[in-house]
Symmetry: D2
Subunit: 369 residues, 4 copies
């Protein structure tokens, strides 16, 4: 329970950071979609450790194997199982963790919940679990493109690291711009300061948090369900299910709470025969349903919990003690969080597209053109 996401495009991830491997089963993918391991590897490579000088030096190849669900290069409509073996085991790096709970990690809560935990790394709470999500989302994006919205673009980017806030123009942002730099920010002027900050905190054995912003363009009108499965509610859950997240806001978000309705409301105007809004404080979602404007949201990531200085903690036999981080960790998860945010957004969107198609025969709302 708790490892499955989606109603119609349903993914079930499994695996601990240490053990046989990690993976995912994707159930509900339409048939006849071209799919090979290379399609998946692209995104896994954007997620993997060791990809740049500012991510953890752990070198995990994260090679995906498709075990089922395809035939002669096409999806069959049956469950697609994907396996990535664990490789870079160094259990000795974790021996102290068998006896002490790492502060602000899941060690203590897992132990309390289950009476047991895999103390060799984060186990199930490791960001390594997101491999399954990213792999599944690579397929989801192909479904979106082939069945629903070929022009749809999901563009997450690093909006801030620590106090450095990128100045990103949503209108001109491109995937190329984001992927051209190892921080994955959308503001050329912020690249170097962000890299420097990450290197600095890492040098201090410290870590730093940040915000991932996301713009989704060319979204069909009518996605999302009233009440509990509002599009922003499902996005919020999706994002808060990622490791290290502490907040989510859509459109005007928390800053909109200080505004009056007169300032905040998005006026409607006809434009090119289509209903548009003249501003986008709604963030592309009204009443839980996409209105065709850009979906805009932000996700808060806390600083990595593993730091290289001694911290107060308690031992597994419940006495006060100290623990100092060891091993190779990201001092800042933001650059690698970008493909994770993208993955979760794609999974939410494809599911709502399939749901809308079930309901009305097409995912397209009655958009006036």
């Amino acid at each position: 329970m708790g490892s499955t996401f989606g109603q119609l495009f349903q993914i079930s991830t499994w695996g601990e950071s240490h053990g046989g491997g990690v993976g995912v089963v994707v159930d509900g993918c339409p048939p006849l979609l071209p799919l090979t391991e290379a399609d998946i590897q692209v995104d896994l490579d954007r997620r993997r450790p060791g990809q740049s000088e500012i991510t953890t030096p752990r070198n995990e190849e994260d090679k995906a194997e498709i075990l089922s669900g395809t035939f002669e290069g096409l999806t069959l409509g049956s469950p697609i199982a994907i396996l990535v073996r664990n490789k870079d085991h160094r259990p000795e790096a974790y021996s102290e963790m068998s006896e002490k709970f790492r502060p602000s990690h899941a060690d203590y809560t897992y132990q309390a919940k289950y009476g047991i935990r895999n103390w060799q790394g984060g186990g199930r709470s490791s960001a390594r679990e997101t491999i399954g999500r990213v792999a599944a989302a690579a397929i989801a994006k192909k479904v979106i493109s082939a069945h629903f919205a070929p022009d749809l673009e999901i563009l997450p980017f690093v909006e801030s690291i620590g106090s450095i806030r990128a100045n990103v123009d949503h209108a001109t942002l491109t995937r190329e711009m984001i992927e051209s730099n190892i921080v994955r920010t959308g503001d050329p002027d912020s690249i170097e300061p962000m890299i420097d900050l990450i290197k600095q905190v890492r040098g201090e054995g410290n870590s730093i948090g940040g915000v991932v912003g996301c713009v989704i363009r060319n979204v069909p009108v009518g996605l999302g369900m009233p009440v509990f499965d509002r599009l922003e509610a499902d996005l919020a859950k999706a994002m808060l299910s990622l490791p290290a997240t502490k907040g989510f806001e859509v459109g005007s978000g928390f800053s909109g709470t200080a505004m009056t309705g007169r300032e905040h409301n998005d006026a409607f105007r006809m434009q090119d025969g289509r209903v548009r809004t003249t501003s986008n404080r709604s963030g592309g979602v009204q009443g839980g349903i996409s209105n065709g404007e850009d979906i805009v949201f932000r996700v808060a990531f806390k600083p990595t919990a593993t730091i290289m200085t001694a911290q107060d903690t308690v031992s597994t036999d419940y006495g006060d003690t100290e623990l100092k981080g060891r091993g190779r960790h990201d001092a800042c998860v933001l650059p690698r969080a970008v493909p994770m945010v993208e993955a979760m957004a794609a999974l939410v969107l494809v599911d709502h597209m399939l749901r809308q198609r079930a309901l009305r025969g097409t995912h397209e709302g009655d958009k006036r053109r």
Copy 2:
């Protein structure tokens, strides 16, 4: 699809603001729980319009009828159906809405999604839908108290209205303090300024947003599931499913993103034979699972979309036009949002308690005392 919430304590709400009524079916409530309509009415009265001089003057009695699931004052274990009839119909107040989409409402997106909408009020997008949630949560709170955590307290409060931010001490906050004032803030000094601000924007035919903070005390350790059904992910979805919400943050939230790990981490210490943290930037949740500290989160509410001045909009035959709000509306939803936030928090908690009891025979984690 989309009107059901919860895995084991499962609620299905139904109803439009105008029509036969609104209600809820609660499936999964344990048997033998004392339950009468009075238990539910208490919370419905905290939610209902017309309860004070700063809420909408619409006078809706919102009288709950339990149609099933109880016998001689006790729950049977079968679905509990609750019905609240709609009363205060004034369709004439809505006639203009049949021809124009209200800005920043769900009118246009519902029309696009479904090809039809109930234009007499908000229909399914109306806050009136939350009656079912609040009624269901009144039962959820009884289950929590009787089966799991008698001392658990869910304390939401108005933290800000517009730019006025209450100064609330989480440690000393009480339900009495919150309910003693019509704004439902936890800071005596903010009551009057907040009331004045609401009256002022209402006088101007305008509206204003704000933030609801929430502290949950005496939470059992071990609630929440790894990966997708993390406790904060389910809370985020629950809160973002409420009308007018734009953001959610837990613990340090967005402000934590500017911190370093050294500043942010919550050290563990033994205290009274129990594992405690010396700070609570985690907000009571680590790795998606409650750690026994207070759960602390905040929810952003935008200003009410209905304002009494003319706004640009488009008509249902897709031409540019103007619309001026009419009828009786809340200028600020925050005071009435407090019981809604409480309801959704209770629904998330009871569900995870039942899930944990299924898994381990008891909801209690292996908390060291």
Copy 3:
């Protein structure tokens, strides 16, 4: 838990035989479908007690009220809540049941499971619960007709009562033939013997079982999912969820187990440009998926448990005692079971049509014509 059926056309029934009423919430119905209470009442009248001289003389009007989900005679796409008030209360008829468990009823198991039961009638186990299913299925049939398969016919009929077995020709069977007689059999020669048998056992204070057969014509190819949600698996669950059912078989069923493959296999032949089978031992389903031939299945109903002679039983304080049935009951449920079987079949079919449309954009398999 347990009162919800369907993945996409999802129904949640609620209510006990005695109490405020019974009903259903239908979530997932497409919008823009004409729907009034009269559409539902037709099927409720086929289900209701007191409809003929061979059903229970309890006179329950079972008047349906649509509480939500429609507007100006059309469905909105939002949950459709339907309420039928309980009327014919005679609690005194049940007083003995408060102290004794009726044999082969759910009294003892409900008491054991929940520690409580509504002893005024069958409570949740009453066939009265099926009102919600029949009402929901009236809508499902409209969806099937409007969105998917206008020619599809679901034709359940009484195939046997006790040892009297009707000789029904599937090819010429019509709904008119079935509904023309109060037994709802499809064989004119069996009508009188069946009526006589029911009257005879009733006269003896006894009861009798039987079999409902069902033929579904003009079924689209491609409905059903491999593995767990095979069409026949979902039909089996649907049928066995009806009160008093003891068995289900599809196509050749149990009699097919004595055959060899050479006798049993359905040969394929092209006919009118379509793939057809020259026999139909598969019962219209192969590998869990409809093949376009008639779906044929049979459902076993046990004799009504309430009989008017003294039977051994135990009391609620766990001593041996006797109980003699009282009140007004069907001596044979078969005639009223026909619309229930039809309802469950419709609910299974509409759900799989919606699922197939989600997957491929149309519910139609790639049938060669």
Copy 4:
């Protein structure tokens, strides 16, 4: 969609008969349960081809690898992924199947539903898929034993093959008796005739069907939910989801339909301080809920569709043609169906035990002892 089973003990199977392998993810298994691959292999060996002279000579080792969810020999509470590689590929044996639909197989319906199929064997419709179920159920049985009902015994056996019906005494039946013979019947006198019949039809290039009976002993009172998730409804679905099944009956089943209530009802009597029934036509389930008596049901299996003589069929370019079975197949699936029936029964039971524990804190009904 369609490859997941269970609410709380949730399994997702994946894999085609030809391709990377088959497997399962088990989500919801309680932690701290001893589990190694050997625990799973025992049941896989009872299911595997080539196990005796009357099963297919295909020699598939079916070696299970646990990829996740355990640590130091104990379950972690996280998803348990199990992989069995495909080995015995002989694609050339299937080349004709690429061009012709095998009669009474899933070839045509899969093609129609998905527009594609893996024609190298049965693909997803292959009985090889049940490896995942049997592996998952090996874990389920350990959960039942450790958490709930250590004395519970699931005893499926071959009740008939063709017209040979075993004379099995439910009261004295043991697992040893069933597993002592390669047919897996519970009647020593039927063993040889059954073996002879299977060999005879195989010698003729033909196949034969049969019935698996099942007795479940020492079942806790109170399992199963009213209405849709009745225990027998879930068992019916579980059994009809197995390949080649055509029918399910519980207790008196179809034969009970010819009885009167007086003959059919199970009288209650106190015995050893417990509520018992003096007969068991209910089959251990009343009102959808277990009453503590033996659960008794029967499952119909059709003759294997693959036979070695020419049959009429159509080609994939939709012309009439002939096809003669090739390759190595079971002439009778019954002996290997026994562990599959056992697996599905265990999965249904463990799920309802967990659900009952969630509801009431213990799976035990208020059984009077």
